[in-house]
């Protein structure tokens, strides 16, 4: 109980110290906040993009052009066989005649086609895919292309796979950035704490001389680092949400033009809290390293 009370006291004292130097505190917190907001913001954008492309993914379809030797009954049988595959949502059959009439309607070449004595178009099976993971598309397409009677299997969304690959690349970039900027936060807080230790060198020496343990000496600095990281993380959350708020109007407008009701989603409470906690952890580690190093410089036995 007494132990807990002492920790609370140090915590309050640290908060008081931060409040007594509001400008310095604000500057440090802002730097930490922006540094953490950058990778978090990129992560949120990426997350939204993935959500958007996932929506398209579900509507993906493949066209199977059948050999001319395949009869209508054979085509139906093939469709039935494809329906049993796990990643297939549904299969539509378009007969050669239906294909021709649709082509005539859409292309405007109706009269030219009338001049031909036979129908040049193949029958088509339109396969609606139900894959969540873009990586699963490739093997499925191989399976479809290998079916007897299939002349050519064409994925209508190859560009979507490229987008998925691009997103994967972006994910990696964000991860690298997040690592580097976390290191930056560690160093920022570490340096702030190092300066604080230097400023209070006399006090530290006296505390050590009157019997303060290293843990007692370290405690206020660790709390200071922890609080700076925590508050910096909260500020980063705030910055990300504020930025999204600024972007949400234009995004809705743009989505509306494409007939979509897509809206940006922010970090949310759990991820926001995680961000703040991550900041706190970085602050604690940074100050622990800085205090340890600095105390060795002024070590009394």
């Amino acid at each position: 109980m007494n132990y807990l009370l002492r920790h609370v006291q140090v915590l309050l004292a640290t908060l008081g110290q931060m409040a007594r130097a509001p400008l310095a505190t604000l500057l440090t917190l802002t730097v930490i906040g922006i540094t953490l907001a950058l990778p978090s913001g990129l992560y949120v954008m990426l997350d939204n993009l993935q959500r958007l492309s996932a929506g398209w993914d579900r509507g993906a379809q493949a066209s199977l052009f059948l050999k001319r030797t395949v009869t209508e009954a054979g085509a139906h049988k093939l469709a039935q066989q494809i329906r049993t595959l796990s990643a297939v949502a549904s299969v539509d059959y378009i007969s050669r005649e239906a294909a021709l009439s649709e082509f005539k309607k859409q292309s405007g070449f109706g009269s030219v086609l009338n001049a031909l004595d036979s129908n040049p178009l193949p029958a088509v099976l339109v396969v609606h895919l139900a894959v969540e993971n873009p990586a699963a598309v490739e093997p499925l397409m191989a399976t479809l292309a290998g079916l007897p009677g299939v002349e050519l299997a064409q994925l209508d969304i190859e560009w979507l796979q490229r987008l998925a690959a691009l997103l994967q690349l972006a994910e990696r970039v964000v991860a690298i950035l997040a690592t580097l900027l976390s290191l930056a936060v560690l160093l920022i807080i570490g340096n702030t704490i190092r300066l604080a230790v230097v400023n209070r060198q006399t006090e530290i020496e006296i505390i050590q001389l009157v019997g303060g343990t290293p843990g007692f000496v370290r405690r206020p600095f660790l709390y200071s680092g922890l609080l700076q990281g925590l508050l910096g993380g909260l500020l980063a959350w705030l910055l990300v949400e504020a930025s999204l708020l600024l972007l949400s109007g234009p995004t809705r407008e743009l989505a509306g033009l494409y007939g979509s009701n897509f809206a940006l989603i922010g970090l949310g409470a759990d991820q926001g809290v995680s961000l703040a906690l991550a900041g706190g952890l970085l602050g604690w580690i940074g100050s622990r390293l800085a205090v340890g190093w600095q105390l060795r410089q002024i070590a009394l036995h």
């Binding site: 006399t202 505390i207 019997g211 303060g212 036995h301």
Partner: protein, 226 residues
């Protein structure tokens, strides 16, 4: 209480070593009061730095309250220091804290319970006659008063051993007298007191045991005085 056996302290400074203490041996009984005198550089401060474990001896054995300081693990040092009261020449007070907070520092660092602290701080301030100034900051106090705050901080843990390094180095004769009387008072109450000083007037006035150091060697010991 204190026992030194052939203690030497050597500082490595460039090509030539500097020997601050050379083969010093003496014993201090519990409840004794003694002075360590000598010119500056004779080794008085080094002796106190060894006793407070700011430094460790190069050679020899140091026993304080039956603890072998050489073998004392690093993590035990803070706990050892809590059983010492140390008074410094420059009093080492924290200027950004009140007199009360300065005196409370050893108790806070030692994890003394909250209800206990004000009682003990006021008792210590009362002993040095500064009870009325607990809310002031050390800067507004006179040199003698600041040194008395330092003494209050040294005795607030009720240590059995009190060490002082030139406690009156910056004070005039009259103020020095009151400070030395204060130490004498603590000794009367059973505290072992060791004072490094070159204030020979006060040393003679109190008539206690005197150790004389010269260039790191113990050249004279009057022996225990009743």
């Amino acid at each position: 209480m204190i026992q030194l056996n052939h203690v030497s302290k050597r500082y490595l400074s460039g090509p030539s070593d500097y020997v601050a203490l050379r083969d010093v041996s003496f014993t201090v009984a519990k409840g004794e009061m003694l002075f360590v005198t000598g010119h500056s550089g004779a080794g008085k401060s080094t002796l106190l730095r060894l006793l407070t474990l700011i430094e460790r001896p190069t050679r020899g054995q140091l026993l304080v309250q039956n603890k072998n300081l050489e073998r004392l693990a690093r993590w035990r040092v803070p706990y050892y220091r809590r059983e010492l009261g140390v008074v410094f020449q420059d009093n080492k007070l924290l200027t950004d804290r009140s007199v009360f907070d300065n005196v409370a520092l050893p108790l806070v660092a030692g994890g003394v319970s909250h209800r206990e602290i004000p009682k003990r701080v006021r008792a210590a301030l009362d002993l040095v006659g500064l009870l009325s100034k607990e809310k002031l900051h050390p800067i507004v106090l006179s040199g003698g008063e600041q040194q008395r705050v330092g003494i209050a901080r040294a005795v607030v843990n009720r240590p059995p051993l009190l060490l002082a390094d030139e406690p009156t180095g910056n004070l005039d004769r009259q103020l020095s007298g009151t400070i030395f009387d204060l130490f004498h008072d603590f000794n009367q109450h059973g505290v072992t007191v060791l004072i490094a000083t070159h204030d020979l007037y006060q040393v003679e006035r109190l008539g206690k045991r005197v150790l004389t150091l010269k260039a790191g060697e113990l050249v004279h010991d009057t022996g225990a005085v009743a």
